[in-house]
């Protein structure tokens, strides 16, 4: 236990010294970037205090970042700037001459209703705001998914199963079209809930699983490339920009 503790102090000392040296040699921006990168990567070995430091810093700072952005980029221009522009004119003069929109009282009231959650007695009122939010999500998405995912995808899957080109019958394109056609139909059969996957229907469902597995395998293999290039980018930063080992 003691040896472990000693080792961790030694590592801490090395990290601190390296950090100071790096700032002196390479400047603040590159050094902070390099050390935070190393701290995150250290998680691959195991959880450790350096990762914890980076993680906790990231959480606190980013939470405040999005809150500030939400306040200045959404709340001020879209709520106060529309509800009663003079109210925010001292901070954002550009909004001063906007016309007032009384309808913006709706989100204001709903926002306050949601905050009633903080009161133990009137907390149930916050459900009204939740009901509004969930109703909005349900109503908006119903038609949008119907349009772009249901109707449009059916439209895309409609074609001739006998393809010709300039030199006559095109076997390759015909096979491809037949496979897309069969793949979509079998994939849909797989998703059937209320019919037992038996007999011919079961064969369709099994083909559907095969199509889905090819889809997943292919997408997985395809994405590997993009993920590797992210790591290459980081390594170029560490070994090139920071350590200067890549020319």
């Amino acid at each position: 236990m003691n040896a472990g503790k000693l080792l961790s102090y030694i590592i801490l000392a090395i990290v601190v010294i390296a950090f100071v040296v790096s700032i002196a040699l390479k400047g603040f921006l590159v050094t902070v970037g390099a050390f935070l990168t190393l701290f995150i990567f250290s998680f691959l070995y195991k959880d450790n205090p350096y990762y914890k430091f980076a993680e906790h810093l990231f959480v606190g700072a980013s939470a405040a970042y999005w809150m500030s952005m939400g306040f200045w980029k959404t709340m001020v221009p879209n709520l106060f700037g529309k509800l009663y522009p003079p109210m925010v004119a001292w901070a954002v003069p550009a909004l001063k001459n906007n016309p007032a929109q009384p309808l913006m009282l709706i989100p204001l009231v709903l926002g306050i209703l949601l905050l009633m959650r903080l009161s133990s007695k009137a907390g149930w009122i916050s459900r009204w705001a939740l009901a509004f939010i969930v109703g909005t999500t349900a109503g908006l998405n119903l038609v949008r998914y119907l349009r772009s995912d249901f109707i449009q995808q059916i439209n895309n899957t409609v074609f001739s199963l006998y393809v010709t080109n300039a030199s006559g019958f095109d076997l390759g394109a015909t096979i491809s079209n037949v496979i897309i056609f069969g793949g979509v139909i079998c994939g849909l059969i797989y998703f059937f809930f209320s019919k037992e996957h038996k007999g011919a229907f079961g064969a369709g469902a099994r083909t559907g699983i095969i199509v889905l597995m090819i889809t997943f395998g292919a997408s997985f293999g395809y994405t590997v490339m993009a993920r590797i290039s992210l790591l290459v980018g980081r390594m170029q930063f560490l070994f090139g920009d920071w350590l200067g080992m890549i020319r």
């Binding site: 990231f58 970042y65 939740l130 449009q152 059916i154 393809v163 056609f181 809930f193």
Partner: protein, 417 residues
């Protein structure tokens, strides 16, 4: 009260939806506007391009008003010769005004302009100045056109009808199942495993981690994640297991707390509920990922649920979860992330199964009935695809123009505007 509400709700919806085609029919009575004949006016003297001419000046279809659409035929000099057209300039005059005013320029080769700056109820007339560098020639002046808002977006009639059919089949089967009709439903492995997964955490005395995705309540997948949480939390309450639910959105925090509390109340253990079960981390995608990874390796949950909308973090979660030996049940409708969950988790709810899961877990007939309604939608999709592919195949085999145009007409019904 419960049944009554559903029925009243369905009736109210039907009435509201019926109002739409009615208002569309009412809107059909609007008269057409004719283009007025005037003589061609010419400015400048040399190298004049021949003018473009309007073919269509009309209130824009299916919009909220404030817009007039103009179409014209290209000048014969567009794209050719020394009189080559460089641009079309649109001039407009409102009734009551005396001067035409330039409102926009369109590059040569284009034949359409939408004037989206009109005031409804005012008549506007237009002309096009076909320009070649500094000189130009005017087209005829159009008759006055008034823009207005429509009560129905006629371009969307097909979407509307298909939507009505699917919605009615879902609603029909909800009531059909409520009458106690027997309903077969196939098994979904991931849902069969939920009880076992919670039981395992209970035995091991370790918590359950529930991740509802990284999007807010305005995404349907998050809503699906929360509805499933309601079912899962009830079992958790009954087993008296710990649940840890870090979230990345504040509204999800509130909704999840409400949902879990109600599940505990329903399980008869309201006193066991605590607000600490759900906690907020950060809205930042990778900040959230970093913190959840930390929670996983430190608390070692026995079971992890990832149910909602996920992006690149899907694989980071699944791999970290695997490294701590957790049972992992995932569900998402993000096509790009499904492969990672399928490869790295024990069970995955794929796409449609995610939205059906809450109904499955509830076991209530009316919820299950809606799933049969969904299957009707699938039948519609399959029938349309088979029918149209057959028509197109016949058309290309027989080279029949009639069959092809029939197929194209039907296909036109299935196009999202």
């Amino acid at each position: 009260m419960k049944i009554c509400f559903n029925k009243v709700a369905a009736l109210g919806m039907v009435l509201l939806l019926l109002a739409v085609p009615y208002s569309w029919l009412a809107a059909q009575a609007e008269p057409d506007t004719l283009i007025q004949d005037t003589t061609v006016t010419i400015t400048g003297q040399e190298h004049l391009p021949r003018p473009a001419q309007f073919t269509f000046v009309h209130d824009s279809e299916g919009d909220a008003g404030g817009s007039i659409t103009l179409k014209w035929t290209l000048s014969p000099d567009d794209g050719a010769g020394e009189n080559n057209v460089t641009s079309y300039n649109i001039f407009r005059k409102a009734s009551g005004e005396s001067e035409f005013e330039k409102i926009g320029t369109v590059a040569s080769g284009l034949t359409e302009y939408e004037d989206a700056t009109t005031t409804d109820g005012v008549a506007y007339s237009y002309y096009i100045l076909t320009s070649s560098d500094s000189v130009g020639s005017k087209s005829d002046i159009s008759a006055g056109v008034v823009s207005s808002a429509q009560w129905f977006n006629s371009k969307d009639l097909d979407t509307f009808i298909i939507g009505i059919i699917i919605c009615f089949s879902v609603i029909f089967f909800i009531f059909w199942a409520q009458k106690g009709k027997k309903l077969y439903l196939r098994k979904i492995a991931g849902l069969e495993a939920v009880d076992e997964a919670i039981g395992r955490a209970t035995e091991m005395g370790r918590p359950i981690l529930y991740i509802p995705g990284i999007l807010d309540m305005d995404d349907v997948q998050t809503v699906a994640g929360i509805t499933i949480l309601g079912r899962v939390a009830k079992t958790i309450a009954e087993y008296d297991t710990k649940i840890n639910m870090p979230v990345s959105r504040s509204i999800v925090l509130t909704t999840a707390r409400e949902t879990i509390r109600q599940a505990y109340v329903a399980a008869g253990r309201p006193d066991a509920y605590s607000d600490d079960m759900v906690h907020y981390l950060t809205d930042e995608q990778f900040g959230y990922v970093a913190a959840v990874d930390g929670i996983m390796v430190r608390e070692k949950p026995a079971t992890c649920f990832y149910i909602g909308a996920f992006f690149a973090e899907s694989l980071i979660f699944a791999e970290t979860g695997h490294s701590i030996g957790a049972i992992q049940i995932a569900g998402t409708a993000m096509p790009a992330q499904l492969p990672f969950f399928v490869a790295a988790c024990d069970y995955t709810l794929i796409g449609e199964e995610l939205f059906a899961a809450s109904a499955y877990l509830s076991g209530e007939p009316k919820q299950l009935g809606s799933l049969k309604g969904q299957d009707v939608g699938k039948i519609i999709a399959m029938v349309v695809i088979v029918l149209l592919c057959a028509l197109f195949t016949v058309a290309s085999l027989t080279e029949s123009e009639a069959v092809l145009s029939l197929a194209n007409t039907i296909r036109g019904w299935f196009s999202a505007s």
